[in-house]
């Protein structure tokens, strides 16, 4: 049986009138990359904050690395690192000073902190600018440093809140590579993202969150197959989507669908065969657009 790094049961959080998390249940297997995918305001950051002990849930339970987030906060803190949405590094300090500070605060001795700092600077390709003030860094370098700072103490669970937001494509791919390497070392990574491509490319498992609930959960492949392997789309005069039908892509299934349509739509209607993307899953689940469409 696989180990579970994070267990979440019935988690709820309300701010005033607004329900941010409305009963979340999730299990994150150890040593995997888990992506929480959702639009802005879906409750992604709140969930990460609860799991990293920054915020108290109103209801429900969660355990990180086997420790209860409410009754064993210190043990949870010893098990996790958090990289928030904003690069949480000191602009007026150098990269070396930032790393050294967090090393000391994480419990390293003075010489241990120096050694770990050098190691991380090398690992994250920051040696050349280690002595420069961080405020002079590019967005990508800042993010790299931020990640390096998060990894000071090698905790088994790493939370990344929208790690690549605002990065250019090159920096984003470099960061993905580093995250994958961390997973391969056995670290569990729980990340939030609003980029479908990121979840698709990077994550072992994906949960789609919308309106404070988990709308779907599984591998990218599983999620895509939930709405059919392929779809037949009916297009109007201006290429607008009139309706879409799930199909298994076989000749007989497509023929049957087209036969059903005969007489109901104009013979000039154009059709298109399309493989679903994660985008479709996302739209289907978060905006509740009907795929088994009624003809207009």
């Amino acid at each position: 049986m696989k180990n579970t790094a994070i267990t979440i049961r019935g988690l709820r959080k309300t701010y005033g009138q607004q329900t941010v998390l409305d009963g979340i249940d999730l299990d994150v297997p150890a040593g995997t990359i888990f992506a929480l995918l959702g639009p802005n305001g879906a409750g992604k950051t709140t969930l990460i904050n609860i799991l990293s002990t920054l915020t108290k849930p109103d209801e429900g339970k969660a355990a990180v690395n086997g420790h209860d987030i409410a009754s064993e906060r210190d043990a949870v803190k010893m098990s996790i690192s958090l990289t928030g949405q904003f690069a949480a590094v000191d602009g007026m300090l150098t990269a070396r000073e930032n790393l050294h500070m967090i090393c000391r605060l994480s419990g390293f001795s003075s010489s241990g902190a120096r050694a770990r700092t050098s190691e991380l600077l090398r690992l994250f390709d920051l040696e050349a600018s280690a002595g420069k003030l961080v405020k002079t860094y590019s967005g990508g370098m800042r993010r790299r440093l931020d990640l390096a700072v998060s990894l000071v103490a090698r905790r088994p669970v790493l939370f990344l809140d929208e790690p690549t937001t605002g990065l250019d494509t090159v920096s984003r791919r470099a960061l993905w590579k580093q995250i994958t390497e961390l997973r391969d070392e056995g670290i569990t990574i729980f990340l939030t993202t609003q980029y479908l491509e990121e979840a698709d490319q990077l994550a072992d498992r994906i949960a789609i969150i919308a309106g404070g609930r988990i709308a779907a959960e599984g591998t990218a492949q599983e999620l895509k197959s939930r709405i059919g392997e392929e779809r037949i789309e009916l297009l109007g005069d201006d290429e607008e989507l009139l309706a879409a039908y799930a199909t298994d892509g076989s000749l007989q299934d497509i023929r049957r669908t087209l036969n059903e349509l005969a007489g109901k739509v104009s013979p000039e209607t154009r059709i298109r065969l399309r493989k679903p993307s994660l985008d479709d899953v996302f739209v289907a689940l978060t905006e509740a657009k009907p795929f088994e469409g009624v003809l207009r």
Partner: protein, 266 residues
């Protein structure tokens, strides 16, 4: 011989309070030293104020040329006010730019980040006080104070700076943004003008005397003045100490409560 360390292991317990405080004090002092404009202001402002009050206003206020001896305590407190007000901005910056969440997920007591700013402010402002006193001597300040009087004067100045800095820290904690923190803090900087810092309160309108005589700056000023110039100290020393300790305790409580609310386990 140097050994190559590869995998570092971290002790699985909370980082000691002593190390946490030392790290944060070091951080804040380093940040203070790098904030060149603020540092220059901390040195230039006392010099400018000293020269302004001695040479520009001094002649009109006290034609005998003795004004410098009167005004030194006032300028020390005025500078301490300006100097510690930046604590509000520093604290607010840390609370709003995300770094506080990183500190909060570390196995430390994260309130130490505020303690660090307070310690750095104390160091900065004692330095500025030193500059004021140095310039004062250059422009003719003469004192009757011996070693013990100096020690007591520096003690009350340090206590005043500490109380004021914690007050600014609390303002920084409740302010929504660094610029708001800077704005709120500004109000406090007018208090020295409504005290015996620059003119005896007896020269003010009667209704204003009531304010000036019963606000914290006046007894602190009078205490420092008595210690440095040998005038009778009366009940000022106890009043000054009581005000400073009272403000310090309230500001501490306010800070801790605000910190819990903003950065505690919500």
């Amino acid at each position: 011989m140097k050994t190559v360390q590869t995998v570092q292991s971290v002790p699985a317990r909370k980082t000691s309070l002593a190390i946490t405080n030392a790290v944060f004090v070091g951080r804040s002092i380093r940040l203070s030293l790098r904030n060149t404009e603020a540092l220059i202001m901390a040195i230039v402002l006392p010099v400018m104020l000293m020269l302004l009050f001695t040479y520009v206003f001094g002649g009109a206020i006290d034609p005998g040329g003795d004004y410098v001896n009167y005004v030194v305590p006032g300028i020390i407190l005025l500078c301490a006010g300006f100097g510690s007000s930046s604590t509000a901005v520093d604290v607010s910056q840390d609370m709003t730019n995300g770094i506080i969440d990183r500190f909060r997920t570390l196995p430390i007591r994260s309130l130490s980040v505020i303690t660090g700013h307070v310690a750095a402010s104390l160091a900065r402002n004692l330095l500025a006080t030193g500059v004021v006193i140095g310039v004062a001597f250059l422009v003719g300040f003469r004192t009757s104070a011996g070693f013990l009087e100096w020690l007591a004067a520096i003690g009350i100045i340090a206590l005043f700076i500490l109380a004021l800095t914690w007050l600014f820290a609390a303002i920084g904690l409740v302010a929504g943004s660094p610029s708001a923190a800077s704005g709120y803090g500004f109000i406090l900087l007018f208090l020295p003008y409504l005290s015996s810092a620059f003119v005896p309160t007896a020269t003010m309108p009667r209704w204003l005397q009531g304010v000036a005589n019963h606000q914290p700056i006046t007894p602190v000023i009078e205490t420092i003045r008595s210690l440095l110039t040998g005038s009778p100290i009366g009940h000022h020393a106890w009043l000054a100490a009581a005000w400073c300790v009272g403000i310090l305790l309230l500001a501490l409580l306010w800070s801790v409560a605000s910190f819990r609310r903003k950065a505690g386990h919500r």
